[in-house]
Structures are given as C-alpha cells and as structure tokens.
C-alpha cells in the first residue's frame, strides 16, 4: 500500500525531471479553474489556450521557438493559484502566465507576479487588476465600467430610470454591482434595490418578487453562474414583465438554452464573438472572430463562449509582443504595453503604459436574444 504510493510519487518526480531536459521552448504558464466553481470560465479558457498553442506550434512557433503551455487547474482556490504561480515562476521560469479567470485569484497574483517581474495576463473582469497599474500585470476582458456604461446608455435611450440590481456573490458579481452603483448618478439612473444571491442559488422567485414590489422599470443581473438563467425564468413565472439586462457574463449560448423562452428579449453587452456571423463583412473583427469560432467549435464540439475568447486574446497579445520584441522578457513587456490595433475577440486592443487593458466601450456591442439565438440589439 504505502510502498506502492511511494512508487507513484517517485514516478511522478522522475517524470517531471525528465520533462525538463528538452530544448528551449518558450514556456507559458496558464492557471485556470478548469474544474470547480469557476469552471464556467476556466474550462473554455483552458481549451482555447491549448488550441492556440497547438496551432502556433504547428505553424512553426513564435519567433522561431516552440511554445510550451504549462496548464494548472486552480479549482478557483487562491492558495492553490499562488502555489502554482510560484512554481511556474521559480521552477519552470515561465515567460509569462495567463489567467486566472476569477478576480479573487488574479488579485492574489497581482503583487506576486509583479514583484517576480513575470508577465501576468489575467482573464478576469475586475478593473482593480489593472487599476492601479502594475508594470507586469495585464488583463484582456473588457472593463466592467464599460459594460455598465453601455447598459446605462441603452436605458437612457429607452427612457428607463428606476432599476433593480441582482448579482451573484462572486468576484464578478461584486465588481459589476460596484460599477453599477458608482456610475448610476452619471446617467441619471436610480437603483431602487440591489440584491446579492448565492452562486449556487436554485430558485430566485422570492428575490424577483421583492424587486417587483419596488416598481422598477428594468432589472440588471450581474453574474457568470447558471443562476442567470433562473432569474429570467422566475421573472416570467411571476409575470414580472420589465426589460431584463444581463452582464457580459451572459455570453454563453448555454444560458440562453437553459432560460428557454424566458431568455427572449434579454439585453446585454458582449464582445462581438457571439454574433460574428451577423457582423457586416467590413467589420475589422469579423475574420478573427469567425476563425476562432470555427476552430473552437470543430475541435471541441461545443459552442464558443466569450470566456474562452479572453484566453485567446491573452495569448494573441502575448504572441504578438514576443514576435515584436524577440525572446527578451523586458522588451516583450514593453511591446505588450505598447500594443496598438491588435484585433482580438473582445475588441481591438490599444494598450499603453497607463492602460493595461486597452479596450474601450466600443469593444462591447449590445446583444439581445431572438428565437434562442444572439443577435445585435442595434439591428433589432
């Protein structure tokens, strides 16, 4: 029993040592919550990263070097994320780390990577990741505040003033709720009620009942969990017929399918990945989006989601900067923060030393759901 365990351990150690005896590829670390509570984000991101690295290697690598992806599953646990990050930095001496996809983990890694002078390209949404700017820390998802702005602009167009807010008790939900509250006065919006629900919530009738009693003109829900399909269902079930806005976390057709008929008419901001085919042919992102979508869907036999797109953007930015700067890490970081006009899935990246995200609110399109599919809201 014990000796067998010992053999397994030894085998693992030996395997690890022998792996390290290869010629010099560029090592890129990836920390994603492939399983666990944030797997909705991490799993498609991890698949995307593997796909990108494979295709880059098949095409001869970056700057003449192969890329090796070192993927770690953090299970959305910050302690494990930290342990893996230290391991990747010190032991594997990775060139850069992409991920994690939750803001909690990303914030724990921010100082760590910055102090170790290792590039971190986070795939989490919270703006605190790049504000204040840390020289080595970047992020690819669009800004929460821009998502909120797009929603509020749409509300202004529709003449909506009094709203109710629901958010899940995750980092994503909390960050969105904070932005909604901060920006409301600027757009003349009055948040009558804000409620937080558990990410594992199974029925939200009571909370939508409470919101309905506040006579709001619209509801904004901010989450990445399955519960965002429950909100529209429960609203329709209690005949609560006001417009429902969701966050960019709704960018997964799975959630539309779960919400069924109730998803019809939900308005939400998202990158254009989900509506790639509907874009006009001259749209600068169309080609990139269609290619990623086709590649991903053929390889993994599942619909693409915006969360995988964030990993795509992270690697696209990184590879681009390496191409520009060669193998030097410092130069790559400089190249990275001076990237302009890079077309990604989330938008067109224009970074600067003071903006380590590089997306503006035009990166978001307002989408809605019609006949169980995403369509551009403007085209409606």
């Amino acid at each position: 029993m014990f000796s067998r365990a010992l053999v397994v351990v030894l085998a693992a150690v030996v395997g690890l040592v022998s792996c390290a005896q290869q010629e010099e590829p560029i090592k890129v670390g990836a920390i994603f919550s492939v399983t666990g509570p944030a797997s909705f984000l991490g799993a498609p991101a991890a698949r995307t990263a593997q796909m990108m690295v494979d295709s880059v290697n098949a095409a001869g690598g970056i700057a003449g070097r192969q890329v090796r992806l070192l993927l770690r599953d953090s299970v959305a646990d910050p302690q494990r994320a930290i342990s893996f990050a230290r391991q990747l930095i010190e032991e594997e001496e990775v060139f850069a780390i992409i991920g994690p996809s939750t803001s909690g983990e990303s914030m724990q890694l921010k100082s760590l990577c910055n102090d170790a002078q290792t590039i971190l390209i986070s795939c989490a949404a919270a703006e605190t990741i790049v504000d204040p700017v840390a020289p080595y820390v970047f992020k690819t998802p669009q800004k929460d505040s821009d998502a909120v702005r797009r929603i509020y602009e749409t509300m202004n167009d529709l003449g909506i003033q009094r709203i109710g807010v629901t958010a899940s008790n995750t980092g994503f939900g909390a960050a969105g709720r904070a932005q909604l509250e901060t920006l409301a006065p600027e757009y003349g919006i009055d948040i009558a009620i804000a409620e937080v629900y558990d990410r594992a919530a199974t029925d939200l009738t009571a909370v939508v009942t409470k919101i309905r009693a506040e006579n709001v003109e619209a509801v904004v829900n901010w989450s990445i969990e399955p519960a965002q399909s429950i909100i529209p269902r429960n609203m329709r079930q209690i005949a609560f017929d006001v417009p429902l806005f969701q966050s960019h976390g709704f960018g997964n057709i799975q959630y539309v399918r779960e919400a069924g008929e109730a998803a019809e008419g939900i308005i939400f901001p998202a990158g254009r990945l989900l509506v790639a085919d509907l874009l006009p042919d001259d749209h600068p992102q169309k080609e990139v989006l269609q290619k990623y979508k086709a590649d991903y869907e053929t390889r993994f036999n599942e619909e693409v989601s915006t969360f995988g797109g964030h990993a795509y953007d992270a690697l696209a930015l990184l590879f681009n900067a390496i191409e520009v700067a060669g193998g030097d890490r410092e130069a790559t970081r400089d190249a990275l923060q001076n990237t302009t006009g890079l077309v990604g899935t989330a938008g067109i990246f224009n970074l600067s030393p003071t903006d380590h995200n590089g997306l503006d609110k035009d990166a978001f399109a307002m989408l809605t759901v019609r006949d169980g599919a995403f369509v551009l809201y403007e085209q409606e």
Binding site: T35, P78, I82, S103, D115
Partner: protein
C-alpha cells in the same frame, strides 16, 4: 537526550537536510510548497488531537483557519491613516503597535502590527470556538459532524457576504510578518529559507507541545474519555470541559495556521472556509491514523505537498475522495498502524484506537 525526543530530533534533522539538499541541487522552489504544507499541518495537528484522542469529529476547522487568516489579513491591510485621530489608533500608535509604510502601489498606509493581529486572531478563534463548542459538543457522531459543517458554512457565507471582508475576492496585499532580528516571514524569494525554518520550528514546537499534552494528566483524561466516557466521568474527569478545552485548543491551532498562511501568501480568500477544505483536513487526520500525531504530520506534508504542486491536476478532489474511502475501508486506524510501523512509545498501541467497537452500545443493545 531521552529516547522520547529522538523523533523530534529526527524531524529537525530532516528539515535541515531537505533545506541543504535543495540548496545544493538548486531546487529551493520545493521549499515553497513545504512551507504551505507545514502551515496546513498546524491545522491538522490540532484536529488530530480532537479527532484521534477525544473522538470528536469537526468539519468546521476550515472555518477557524479562515477566521485566523482573515483577522490577520484585515488587521494588517486596513489603512488606519484616515482614522488617525481616533483615540484607539493614537494609543496603538504611541505604544508602537502599528506600522507605517508605503505599499507597492505608492499608497501610504498605517496598519496594526502583525503581532497584534496574531493575538487578536488567536483570541477571536478561541472565543468563537468556546461559544460554538458549548452547545455543539453535546452532540455526537453525525449530529456533531453536521453541526460543525454548518458552522463552517456560516463562516463561509459571512465571508462571501461582507464587503468589509472583500466578498468573493477575499483580501490581498497582506504584508509579511516582521520577526525579531529584522527578518520578515513572507513569500518573497530571498526570505524563503528563513521562512521555511520559521514555520518548521513552529511545527516542531507544536508537535512537542502536543506530544507533552498527550502524555500529561489532561491528555490521559482525554484518552480515557475516548476509551470509555462513563468510566472517565466516574473517575472524576469533567468530560464536557475537557472536550471543550480541546476543541478550543484545536481551533486556536487552526487559526494560527491561517494567520501565517495569510502573511505567507499575502492574502486569503473565502474558499479557505469551504467545506472541501474541511473535508481535506479530516481526510488527512484519517490517513494519518486518527490518533497518531506523527502519522498525521506525515500524511499532511505528503498530501498537501503533492496537491499544492499540482501533481493531481484536475483530479485533486477525486484523489482525496479515493484516499478517504480507501483508508476507511482498508485501514481505518491508519496506514502506518496497519503496517505495524506505529510505535509512539516503548509500549505498543498506547494511543487510543480510532474506532473502538462500542462495547457500551453492544451491552445496552444486548440487554435492552
């Protein structure tokens, strides 16, 4: 040195040996996970005493770990500068209990000394475990397991629901723990060797204390409770008080681990209070043989080290599930004892059996 202390000497020697080996082979990065494994070991050493020697299960120790970690994290990241005029802050500052510095983002901050927050964390976990232990420790078996699980869940939801505690993001940018001699316990690469020796000194110290406890008057009383509770009471042992004291002691141990984890990793998130972490602690104690401090320490270091290095990949939780079931099926008293490698002292099997067949119950049933 009497034979009693040989294992401790051996442990200390191993700790030093590992450090020297990693230094000469230039693989010092292994120390990172050994430090974190040591911090988790502090939790399970306490839990081992509670489960193995007093026979009380707790699925709430992740909650105490988080209480410790969060107290340290909040206390040392809360910027006191805006509250400088407050009487308490002024008093603390004058007494030298605060630290003023500029953080990595160029903000001036004034925060409580980690020593103060360490003390606060230990006190807080002690008081909370006392309050929760009084009603809960009257329960047994499944009821106790569920009640402690419920306690852990409450802590988890409080952490998730409080803006003050950072909600799902937790708390980050926690400074290191300044120790005498100008050395700081934190995750920085150049402090690693000293941090390693510091935590392992802590673990060895704790092991000595616990070993002493097991072989002292209260330790004997606790084992007697596990061996036969009614008889222990008839011998004058205040069983309720002893169980409670041990519960508090193990909770304080968990908080101690949490405090240093927060300083080492520079933060803490609500997942530390999650059910899966609590189950992990129980699993480790079970693998170690319930009533074996050395077995528990060994299991903790091996399992945590492998898990933190990511050897199990996405099967991490599954591995713990398999280990739990296998150990319970094959060797419920622990693998070491199964292999006959269990020798705590001169005489064999002096520690209580993890799963004594309840003779009490048999008799009651038989005559009922």
């Amino acid at each position: 040195m009497s034979r009693e202390w040989v294992p401790f000497g051996a442990l200390a020697a191993t700790v030093i040996l590992i450090q020297l080996v990693t230094m000469f082979t230039n693989t010092q990065y292994y120390l990172t996970q050994l430090i974190m494994a040591a911090l988790y070991s502090i939790v399970v050493i306490g839990l081992c005493l509670l489960m193995g020697y007093a026979g009380q299960i707790s699925l709430g120790h992740a909650g105490f770990f988080a209480i410790g970690g969060y107290t340290a994290a909040v206390g040392t990241t809360l910027n006191l500068l805006p509250h400088r005029d407050h009487v308490l802050v002024r008093m603390a500052e004058r007494a030298g209990l605060t630290i003023q510095t500029t953080n990595s983002w160029g903000v001036d901050i004034l925060y409580f000394s980690p020593w103060i927050t360490l003390l606060a964390a230990l006190l807080l976990s002690g008081v909370i475990s006392l309050l929760i232990g009084i009603p809960v420790l009257r329960l047994r078996g499944h009821y106790l397991a569920m009640a402690t699980l419920g306690f852990g869940a409450i802590i988890y939801y409080i952490l998730l629901g409080s803006r003050f505690l950072g909600e799902a993001d937790g708390i980050y940018d926690v400074p290191g723990f300044g120790l005498p001699g100008g050395f700081t316990f934190d995750g920085a690469r150049n402090n690693r060797v000293l941090s390693y020796y510091f935590v392992w000194a802590l673990v060895i110290g704790l092991m000595v204390l616990m070993h002493n406890l097991v072989n002292s008057r209260p330790g004997r009383a606790l084992r007697a409770i596990h061996g036969n509770e009614p008889a222990a009471m008839a011998m004058g042992v205040d069983t309720a008080r002893y169980k409670l004291s041990l519960f508090v002691l193990s909770a304080v141990c968990a908080a101690l681990g949490g405090v240093f984890m927060a300083h080492y990793n520079g933060g803490m998130g609500p997942t530390e209070a999650g059910t899966l972490k609590a189950v992990r602690y129980v699993a480790i104690v079970a693998v170690g043989g319930m009533a074996s401090l050395w077995g528990t320490l060994g299991a903790s270091v091996v399992l945590n080290f492998l898990s933190l290095r990511g050897y199990f990949g996405s099967l991490d939780d599954a591995v713990f599930g398999v280990v739990l079931i296998t150990v319970m099926l094959v060797a419920p008293d622990g693998i070491l004892r199964r292999l006959g490698m269990y020798t705590l002292r001169r005489n064999r099997d002096t520690a209580p059996d993890a799963f004594p067949v309840s003779a009490e119950k048999q008799v009651q049933r038989g005559t009922a």
